[in-house]
Symmetry: C2
Subunit: 257 residues, 2 copies
């Protein structure tokens, strides 16, 4: 990249407040950028910031030609309109895949950036040659940046897709029908052995203190055909997609795509 353009890709990392997990995630992402030869510009903001001011900061980064990608670390805090802040990210800089523009692109199979965790999950499944066509994929969790886009990406790959969530009745019977089960619940050890069909591919998109995921590994490990580890597994893939998309964004903005 540098050789071709004289420019180093730059990711702006926006962090609101000082939640320890968020601080760690942003540090990990910036360290990985540095290892990959990507610059990062850290933008720490006080937790007392208003939505209007946060949107202003992101609009400013969106129009800054030195910034090629923008990551707003989720969650930003309950008093802020996170969706409004996400939507202030210019589509061509949405390397974390959190805007409605990127979501629709994923759903319609159009050019655009993918949400990093769902995108990382698809890369893992591809790497292990998991055939998705016609298979029943069950996504447990429906957040805007994880569960919902994961389902759309799986649907675009011709899986039959079921979204389950906190209001689902008879969850275990549904997950037991899954050929591919994506746990994106946000509750440690939520998926247990009796929720899993023998031989199923289990993707654990959770991460909790102590390095625990959304899947109870002890009871699931021997039933699953394949299972992603925590730590490892989905987490590093999320960062890898973020980095790859930052380089793509820079290349497109520099016209060397």
């Amino acid at each position: 990249m540098r050789r071709r353009t004289g420019t180093t890709p730059c990711l702006a990392t926006v962090l609101v407040g000082d939640d320890p997990a968020s601080v760690t995630y942003v540090r990990m992402k910036r360290n990985r950028c540095a290892q990959a030869g990507i610059d990062s510009r850290h933008v720490p903001l006080p937790s007392s910031i208003t939505t209007d001011r946060l949107v202003e900061v992101i609009v400013s980064l969106s129009s800054d030609p030195k910034v090629h990608g923008i990551l707003l670390q989720h969650p930003v805090g309950p008093h802020l309109d996170e969706r409004a802040a996400f939507e202030a990210i210019a589509p061509q800089k949405d390397v974390d895949g959190v805007t409605g523009h990127s979501f629709a692109a994923m759903a319609f199979g159009r050019p655009g950036f993918v949400s990093c965790t769902p995108g990382g999950i698809l890369r893992l499944l591809d790497e292990y040659q998991v055939d998705l066509t016609g298979r029943h994929a069950v996504v447990v969790g429906r957040s805007a940046i994880l569960g919902r886009p994961a389902g759309m990406l799986l649907l675009a790959r011709d899986a039959t897709v079921t979204y389950c969530h906190s209001r689902t009745v008879g969850l275990s019977a549904i997950t037991r029908g899954a050929d591919v089960l994506v746990a994106a619940v946000g509750r440690p050890g939520f998926i247990t052995g009796s929720d899993v069909k023998p031989g199923a591919v289990v993707v654990d998109a959770g991460y909790h203190p102590g390095g625990v995921g959304d899947v109870d590994v002890a009871s699931v490990r021997d039933r699953a055909g394949l299972i992603t580890p925590v730590p490892g597994g989905v987490g590093p893939m999320t960062i890898a997609v973020l980095l790859a998309q930052t380089v793509q964004a820079a290349a497109r903005q520099l016209g060397v795509d």
Copy 2:
């Protein structure tokens, strides 16, 4: 509306080619506009039009202050990039709910227009007080303007949602688990009695020559708890939502929302 603003809402109807079904649909929509006191501006285009030219026409309508809503009749023909044409519709004039902007708004529960057929389905379900929370809704079909947004709207209403489609393996076993079954396949009489759980709510979003839907009424009628008729049912609701959203769009553009 006219009394408050001196302006009559105006829907632009864009029709490419002369497919008889499309001609009929557009005529019906314009007739209903007239009945409701909404102006329509018909824009017939030759089937030989290029995507670039079609996009130009829509961009022009998007910036015309006399036009409050834009309907591009689907399908536009296989040689055209329909998605590119849809995306040329300004979000505030997307009264048919076909843009990625509208899709993301539906998925994230944000302000915006809904796709008319899915929006009409939800209104029908509400009118008949069908409780969706935690119920299993199965959508058969995944088109960008019908199946996919229908699933997103049902998910936003706390249903457990499964998307089935042409590549789904074991379709009938899945549809038999549905409390609410949405047939959006585009194949006459595709859903038969053995696909339906006794007591299920069956929504037929199909329409084929001779007034036949996607559901085989003879075998399904006695099993379903509720079933939408064809003709009638979803079709008129689709147009009702189009008209309501055209008035909403005009009100917003005129600042009397």
